[in-house]
């Protein structure tokens, strides 16, 4: 028996898993409908942007009616958002809250407790709707969750060792996360040989708070390489609406171009790389009409950047978890807007594209120059020593020296670079765009204003 298989058997002998049948699950994936694979949909859906909302409820019935509502508005990809107890591997609390949710008919979990619901039950729902489902979670150790997702027919797995740690956790050990996700990539790669590939997606928004595009792109490509290294054949890089139309267009072009370049650099030329766009992930206005405008603008930009998939927000964003009606309305509106946007002319801003490309290459040069022997250790060391620095990360490993502000056109610019290994030329370019007074308070005032740019 391989080491991987031995580890999987130990992980799946969890007391909350009801007798996992490896052979049966393998057989299910082998014979599963192509319609369940987003990787298949990406290939056959030439040029159209797939629309995926967010959402997850604790009980089977509410989850089922959420999916029903989405199918009425012709959704392309269904979400399965997992509750926070499951994300922290606390299946005991999730079980208790699921039982109470069922008894009292109130939602006591903020998502679907997949482990407690089990894969046999969940698979019935997924195969009934016969639409790709995307696993949305935020789990540092997702080794068990991903097995049950795939066994349920959920063939897209979001997350990664950096993007699910730095924005979400204060002290989950970063090195452990790399190893746990390495296991997840191997499981995905193994299942990918049976039918269409399992698609992996990285979580580009990070903290969604003034993250400069070069950091987003470096982390997207680092997670992509770590995934492809283990044999994953379909991968989505992603980013979220920056608050600047220009920066979104430039980011999408550079991200696509460099993702392919770095895949080739590690010797991978047979994987499909997709681009996913998240609508605005920062603070939303409390005015629902303004929210509608923000969502429309996001849809329009997704069309302009030629995103393979857009992940939607709702007009109820400022008020908590959206109802299924709000959520379905957002899907319907976004599809309507996207349908208007065909044959958009190509957009070029050579100066911005060159600067962003240089910054990403300069950071990667420093990462590859780290003396560690494997890519994950090089990336780990680079996070530790501030070569990768995510603004507003709560994690103790994050360097927190990088400071960004918006320029007059709302582009996110690097004000203090901390230990970011960008060249003097790149840094000068960033600085030349910033327009702050000399008052030492002005940078803090500017940051406060910039975070609330959509309010």
């Amino acid at each position: 028996m391989s080491l991987l298989q031995r580890d999987r058997e130990i992980i799946l002998s969890n007391e909350y898993v009801d007798n996992f049948d490896f052979a049966e699950v393998e057989d299910f994936v082998k014979n599963a409908s192509k319609d369940l694979f987003i990787a298949h949909k990406f290939k056959t859906n030439k040029g159209k942007t797939l629309v995926q909302p967010r959402g997850g409820f604790p009980t089977y019935d509410k989850m089922y009616s959420l999916y029903e509502q989405f199918k009425k508005v012709d959704v392309d990809v269904l979400p399965m958002t997992i509750d926070s107890h499951t994300r922290l591997n606390d299946y005991g609390s999730a079980a208790k809250m699921l039982r109470l949710s069922e008894e009292t008919e109130t939602d006591l979990l903020n998502g679907y407790p997949l482990i407690n619901q089990g894969y046999r039950t969940t698979r019935k729902m997924v195969t009934h709707f016969n639409t790709p489902v995307s696993l949305r979670h935020g789990t540092p150790d997702a080794r068990l969750l991903v097995e049950l997702a795939i066994a349920s027919g959920v063939f897209e797995i979001e997350g990664g060792p950096i993007t699910y740690i730095l924005p979400y956790s204060k002290n989950f050990p970063q090195d452990k996360a790399f190893l746990y996700w390495k296991h997840v990539e191997r499981v995905c790669a193994k299942y990918s040989t049976l039918n269409e590939p399992i698609n992996r997606e990285s979580f580009g928004p990070l903290t969604a708070t003034l993250v400069p595009p070069c950091i987003t792109i470096v982390i997207q490509i680092a997670e992509m390489m770590l995934s492809l290294e283990e044999g994953v054949k379909s991968f989505s890089v992603s980013f979220s609406q920056t608050g600047s139309l220009n920066q979104d267009l430039v980011t999408s072009k550079v991200l696509r171009k460099l993702a392919n370049k770095y895949a080739n650099k590690i010797g991978v030329d047979d994987a499909t790389i997709n681009l996913v766009y998240h609508q605005w992930m920062g603070a939303f206005p409390r005015d629902k009409f303004k929210s509608d405008s923000l969502i429309d603008a996001g849809a329009m930009i997704a069309g302009m950047v030629g995103a393979d998939k857009i992940i939607t927000k709702t007009r109820a964003e400022a008020f908590g978890i959206p109802t299924k009606e709000d959520n379905a309305q957002a899907v319907s509106n976004v599809k309507y807007t996207l349908n208007m946007l065909r044959g958009i002319p190509a957009f070029v801003d050579e100066e911005e594209e060159e600067n962003l490309t240089n910054e990403v290459d300069e950071i990667f040069e420093a990462i590859f120059n780290d003396s560690a022997d494997t890519l994950w250790r090089k990336v780990f060391n680079s996070i530790k020593n501030g070569i990768i620095d995510v603004p507003f990360s709560p994690h103790i490993i994050n360097n927190n020296e990088l400071i960004t502000v918006r320029d007059d056109n709302s582009n996110i610019r690097i004000y203090k670079k901390g230990k970011l290994p960008i060249s003097e030329k790149s840094f000068k370019y960033e600085q030349s765009k910033i327009n702050l007074g000399s008052n030492p308070n002005s940078v803090v005032n500017q940051i406060i204003k910039d975070i609330g740019v959509m309010l």
Partner: protein, 145 residues
């Protein structure tokens, strides 16, 4: 001057914490930021370890009252007797009356209490308070660049 800061309790609201860190640094303080989800004991340990003269605790979800009400017990400690204790943020869960909240926190042992104050105005008050405090040498704010 050395300052220990962080967010008390099970509170992951990191944005204001980072803004406090940046603002204090721009005013010339040496900042030891313990970040989010910090317990009172960890704050006290850090103040002693770094020999800081100011402890600035913040709270956004309003849990601070439960976590900080026994601060006065620590103040007998010799290495803490010159330390200025400050707390700010949302200091009650739900609606709270400032005129009741501030005296309550002063009883818990805080020298300065800010309930839903503007960040920069609050820091100005702290600067001035420290200038009037004869036991402490005041840093000159230096420009960010």
């Amino acid at each position: 001057m050395k300052v220990v800061t962080g967010v008390v309790g099970n509170d992951i609201h990191v944005v204001a914490n980072r803004l406090i860190d940046i603002s204090l640094q721009s005013r010339g303080y040496e900042v030891f930021n313990l970040g989010v989800n910090t317990y009172l004991e960890e704050f006290i340990d850090a103040v002693i370890e770094t020999q800081s003269k100011v402890l600035l605790i913040s709270s956004l979800n309003g849990e601070a009252e439960g976590w900080c009400r026994e601060l006065y017990r620590y103040k007998d400690n010799d290495s803490l007797k010159d330390v200025v204790f400050v707390i700010g943020g949302n200091l009650s869960v739900g609606e709270g009356d400032e005129s009741e909240i501030v005296p309550r926190y002063k009883e818990y042992g805080f020298d300065l209490v800010f309930h839903q104050s503007d960040l920069l105005e609050g820091l100005d008050i702290i600067d001035n308070y420290l200038k009037g405090n004869t036991k402490i040498k005041i840093p000159m704010p230096k420009d960010l660049k």
